[in-house]
Symmetry: C2
Subunit: 117 residues, 2 copies
């Protein structure tokens, strides 16, 4: 996730990939996008993605925050409360992400058939 090659600094594809092309980022974006209020707390996200460990979720959120796609709001309470939501940049990405998901649904069979697993 840390590429310093000249290619990476100027290529939009490489840039996009390095920001949310990992295993969990899109699921976070999707969860926030489709939630009622657009806001989810850490453990709410966990319940949306039960196969993602705490560590990976926290790492993913940190990346998304650094990429300015997700906003992190901390309430200094006990027990702690942290609310995650999409930034405007994050929101601007969602139509494309939803298109990608729609493609995935439509072409699920063509792509799954005998390939992996």
């Amino acid at each position: 996730m840390a590429d310093i090659t000249a290619e990476y600094l100027t290529c939009p594809i490489r840039n996009v990939i390095s920001r949310f092309g990992d295993k969990w980022s899109m699921l976070v974006l999707y969860s926030l996008h489709t939630s009622e209020t657009g806001i989810l707390r850490f453990n709410e996200l966990r319940r949306h993605m039960t196969d993602c460990s705490q560590k990976m979720l926290s790492q993913t959120l940190k990346n998304l925050e650094q990429s300015h796609l997700v906003h992190r709001k901390v309430y200094p309470e006990v027990p702690p409360r942290v609310e995650y939501s999409l930034t405007d940049t994050g929101k601007s990405l969602m139509p494309t992400v939803m298109a990608l998901i729609a493609w995935g649904k439509e072409h699920f069979n063509e792509v799954v058939t005998d390939g992996g697993y």
Copy 2:
């Protein structure tokens, strides 16, 4: 890339991600899509993606072939000749991929600023 969880078998996001959410797949798809004939040989692809090693390119192409996004045509010659092109499924994905790239170009600055690297 080999996920057997129930989530992965039914979730289109996870499915999409596992097919071409890696570092090089989208660059291959893009290269094929934007090439004049829609056909590229192995070493032509290499020259399009100079920061991708032979091994990773060959691995990426194998994945894309198994996912039925890329077609591989071998000519039994010496030296060997192998031509890669998009399948119909692969072609159907390109509008979305190009939209993603367009987003990347437009929001490059917002996303790069101080985040990664």
